[in-house]
Symmetry: D2
């Protein structure tokens, strides 16, 4: 493994650890990163009784869907912006994490959030020096698309 690959492996592993273990609301939702590399980001959530919005039908709350899409787009944007930094050190790269944030988010709710677990996938639409724009899709465990989103992110 080249030193550059080693570098990336270390960064992505640190991002995953931060995301899953150090962000309290991600922990509350039980978000897990299923895949995180330079090509693709996937975030998974198991439905739990606390995530329900409509108590009659037991479907996922719209706020949970928005949260999952936002963090998936954020991770996708973050990894893409890191790639643009080229040869910067791991430390320099990680310092940008603290100043990274969502500028705006659009969520389209397509179908009721029925299912036991859900996976959100992020795709890059644009990566500038400081701005990245992403599309996100949330599918349930039977492959139905539940919601999509578009997010704009800033790394100051």
């Amino acid at each position: 493994m080249s030193s550059n690959e080693e570098n990336w492996k270390q960064i992505l592993s640190q991002v995953k650890h931060t995301f899953e273990e150090q962000v309290p609301f991600n922990k509350l939702l039980g978000l897990k990163i299923d895949r995180l590399d330079l090509e693709c980001v996937k975030v998974r959530i198991e439905k739990d009784d606390h995530h329900v919005g409509n108590f009659v039908h037991g479907i996922l709350h719209g706020g949970v869907i928005a949260a999952v899409l936002d963090v998936t787009g954020g991770l996708t944007a973050f990894v893409s912006l890191l790639q643009k930094m080229g040869d910067a050190s791991v430390q320099e790269k990680m310092e940008r994490l603290a100043k990274f944030g969502t500028i705006d988010l659009r969520v389209d709710y397509l179908r009721p959030g029925k299912g036991k677990h859900f996976t959100a996938e992020g795709t890059i639409l644009r990566t500038g020096k400081k701005i990245a724009v992403t599309r996100m899709e949330l599918h349930n465990d039977t492959g139905h698309m539940i919601a999509v989103g578009t997010g704009t992110y800033l790394a100051v």
Copy 2:
């Protein structure tokens, strides 16, 4: 109090109870309705350690902000659509609640979510027979505007 006013008081009290006590994710977030009448909707959230996104700065997670704005817009739209139903009975009106949902949502994150508690307020932009469009604003306890949103809601 006229029978119509009594009717409204009963409906809004039922909506408030459902929102605060019967929607699991609203309970998890600790959302409270501060005001709910035909002129104005206000939803309040106390920050708690589990709502944090950025663990270094202790600020509100973007997903919490999106969730609060979505439910505030939803309540605003719902009350407005109910008004359009005119003389329908309480039961008829409440039956629409089960089939009510968000079509789409835009959230703009303006400032870091610093503060102990936050209040979201909703305003109606358009109310049709089935569609309502709302604007929402989230302020912290020192009066700073943290985020705004726009939502489109459907009552089938």
Copy 3:
């Protein structure tokens, strides 16, 4: 050709004629429908000096991009909602055209609008009885993605 196929051919031909010849602003922009069937909608615009936003670089004005994406999403939604009407007559189907409109639109500008001509393509995300949600993409003549959009449409 079955009577149903004949029926569709007639409707789509009428939609194309209305779009290109009877909508004044579409004529001003010179919009042409490249493809319009039950699988796909493509709208084409030739750049002309009047469409320019940034006079230094000769790129497409953001308002032109928004307009093209809006009408592409609208056509996509309209065809999809027509399909949901099943066996209704051509006349009944066309009467819905007059009451059809955009509820909301999001546009993401990804790259400067350089090129001689541009093609927008629409995809359906959701079709209900009255509401349809679409995604749109605009590419230039060298295959670069210039902008994307998401639109919500209503047929009352």
Copy 4:
């Protein structure tokens, strides 16, 4: 008049001239700046037969509305970002104009665009070093709100 005020007057006059005379698509639409100062931006459009979308009802095309809201938000953002530049020279300030653009735009269509002329007004929601977020509202000549929008703008 202080030299700083003189400076601003010169910049705003130059922005107005560029907007109205040098942007071809603004000229095609006949856009005029009604007000442009550090507190408020207003853009006006006279309806003309070419701006019509629905030929039966003679209402404004959704693409025209999107275009007017986009440029109004853009002007609002641009003036606000200029203010953040403090003591920079007129030339330095104007050089940023060439690299200024819309990142994303949301438009909500509230009522049919009936009227003889329309005015769009912009408000700042957030101004950073490079990013500004604005809200826009479009009213017709009888004071009805026709559409609203939210835009995110970048000055590289």
